[in-house]
């Protein structure tokens, strides 16, 4: 896929489960190939529904979803679907095999790949996600974080160009969530994937290229994570809370203490200490 192409183009997309209550209304947006987009908004704003439309699991009632230049419809779905992988919220609900190995192979079997290729991919992506030592394990022997790694490995083994994470880290503990974030960062760096992540996680949003804010079934804003976390009204309306370090820097600014702009991982403490020494 060429870098200039859009992975997604949505034109006036609407959707309703029941005709009287529309969940999404007139969504227009585009997502360039190779980018990492966070989809944010309060509970019940239609994020997961949009994810399902993007993944081709639901069909729009009106409007057009264009995936990598092809309009998504009944005729094209079979050709588009293999390009898209989805990772869902609950690690327990997406385990199909009775071992990790089987689980990763399941999707590959569906693709009718030759046995050698399947073995190769299970090993390759098992190692990539650092679950190579777990291949013979039953899901009940795995932690939530490990199960999510298996889910990601199973998806990546199918070699999709687009991966959609639907609150994939929200049921994980702090440590596992950090690990999943590292995996997504690596995916982004490889340049092989377009990543759409539905998330409430401030840290994760900070690392993405762009945040699309959904409110009441429509796109309320489309902006950089930095701009999002500096827009109080928007944060309030999409019920997000800024990362702690940004909050601290902003609170300090209110009190007249200007900390020089920080890179994502730079320490506030050091900046303040320098300020302290220089005063």
């Amino acid at each position: 896929m060429s870098g200039t192409e859009n992975a997604y183009e949505l034109h006036q997309v609407s959707f309703a489960y029941e005709s009287e209550q529309s969940v999404l209304d007139g969504i227009t947006l585009s997502i360039p190939s190779g980018s990492w987009v966070s989809l944010v908004g309060p509970n019940g704003c239609g994020k997961s529904t949009l994810a399902k439309l993007l993944g081709g699991l639901l069909a729009a009632n009106a409007g057009e979803v264009v995936v990598e230049g092809t309009v998504l419809n009944r005729e094209t779905i079979h050709q588009i679907r293999p390009r898209i992988g989805m990772v869902f919220q609950n690690p327990d609900n997406q385990f199909i095999g009775s071992t990790v190995e089987e689980d990763i192979a399941f999707g590959l079997e569906g693709r009718c790949l030759p046995r050698e290729e399947m073995i190769h991919r299970v090993r390759k992506y098992g190692d990539k996600l650092e679950i190579g030592h777990l291949l013979s394990k039953h899901p009940s022997e795995l932690s939530g974080g490990q199960k999510q790694r298996v889910a990601v490995a199973a998806i990546l083994a199918m070699e999709p160009g687009i991966v959609i994470f639907d609150e994939a880290s929200s049921m994980l503990d702090e440590k596992a969530r950090g690990e999943l974030l590292d995996i997504i960062k690596e995916m982004k760096q490889s340049g092989e994937y377009t990543i759409v992540s539905i998330t409430h996680d401030a840290e994760e949003i900070m690392y993405s290229d762009r945040a699309i804010v959904l409110l009441d079934g429509g796109v309320a804003a489309d902006l950089s994570p930095e701009d999002l976390f500096h827009d109080d009204a928007l944060l309030q309306s999409c019920r997000l809370i800024a990362p702690y370090r940004i909050q601290l820097v902003r609170e300090l600014a209110k009190l007249g203490v200007q900390v020089p702009p920080l890179q994502r991982e730079e320490e506030v403490t050091e900046a303040l200490w320098q300020l302290h020494l220089n005063k």
Binding site: Y17, S48, D173, K175, H200, R239, L240, I241, R245, L272
Partner: protein
């Protein structure tokens, strides 16, 4: 004392080849009216511990006392019905327990089951729902057509509707949006402060409960490795981190600041607002000192006023 555990151990499949020890020799006392946070890695025994609080699990050795109810290994349980009303347990993923076709029926089920009149059950339902920030228009809706976060709130309301004295929640905030999480933490705090409820919360996100929880318990491999106040928790943070506890940014940030600026003996400032005020004060103090020609101190300020 609301809850007392004496040398409690619990093993799944006890006396079988697959014996799987989940709790080892736990001693625990929780006073009535506390707000307690329980943290620990996945598989450390947090959920198993919670299920001892209303007699779902019975210790395989040791003794559990909740109010006047005593559950002891090897002895017959007292009748547990009233205990189960007084100790409301919100499981992990409570939305899995929804089963009725309207929100109202679902929440009424508990109160009716414990013998309340229909009117009372309905009134409590509406009150509990409002506490969670959902209005009465939700009463007639099908719980399965709600969003994940709304389902979670309905499920929590169904436990609150029984008006328990002790509310125990297992990861109540996972999957809620950040502000809903903050609101739920605040609601629990109000239940504790205004209505005198005892609140016990298992959480993976310590920062959410830090402003409210006055007692912290850290579990590891089925053992209690720490119980203490928030201040003690922050002081022990590095040791606890070494044994695998992941710390929220507000604690690591404060500890870095404290180490840099020599504030270790102060009350920790764990919100961005309070930490900013404390730091601003340090920096301005320093400026004042610099205007004083006699001062060439390079040591960090000491004895600053503690900020909560």
């Amino acid at each position: 004392m609301a809850i007392t555990l004496e040398q409690v151990s619990y093993a799944y499949d006890d006396r079988s080849l697959w014996r799987n020890g989940a709790l080892e020799d736990i001693n625990l006392k929780l006073d009535q009216g506390v707000f307690a946070g329980i943290v620990g890695a996945t598989g450390s025994g947090k959920s198993t511990l919670l299920q001892h609080f209303n007699g779902i699990l019975k210790p395989t050795s040791g003794k559990v006392q909740v109010f006047d109810y005593i559950l002891q290994a090897g002895e017959k349980n007292p009748p547990l019905r009233e205990l189960r009303r007084r100790v409301g347990l919100v499981f992990q993923f409570p939305e899995h327990q929804l089963f009725e076709d309207t929100v109202e029926k679902d929440i009424c089920f508990g109160p009716l089951n414990f013998g309340m009149s229909k009117e009372e059950a309905k009134e409590r339902t509406s009150r509990a729902l409002n506490m969670l920030g959902l209005d009465d228009s939700f009463l007639s809706r099908n719980p399965f057509h709600l969003s994940g976060g709304q389902m979670r709130k309905v499920a929590i309301a169904s436990v609150l509707a029984m008006d328990p004295d002790i509310i125990v929640l297992d990861e109540p905030t996972a999957t809620l949006d950040p502000q809903s999480r903050a609101e739920l933490a605040e609601l629990l705090f109000r239940l504790q402060r205004d209505l005198g409820k005892t609140v016990i919360v298992v959480t993976h996100r310590m920062e959410e409960m830090l402003p409210y929880a006055d007692t912290w318990i850290v579990m590891k491999d089925g053992r209690k490795i720490f119980q203490g106040s928030k201040i003690e928790l922050v002081r022990e943070a590095n040791t606890l981190a070494k044994s695998g506890l992941s710390l929220p940014t507000c604690i690591t940030e404060w500890n870095q600041l404290a180490a840099r600026f020599g504030l270790e003996h102060e009350e920790p400032c764990l919100t961005a607002g309070s930490a900013a005020v404390r730091i601003a004060k340090l920096l301005t103090n320093r400026m004042d000192k610099d205007t004083d020609p006699g001062s060439n101190s390079t040591s960090p300020d000491e004895g600053g006023e503690p900020y909560a």
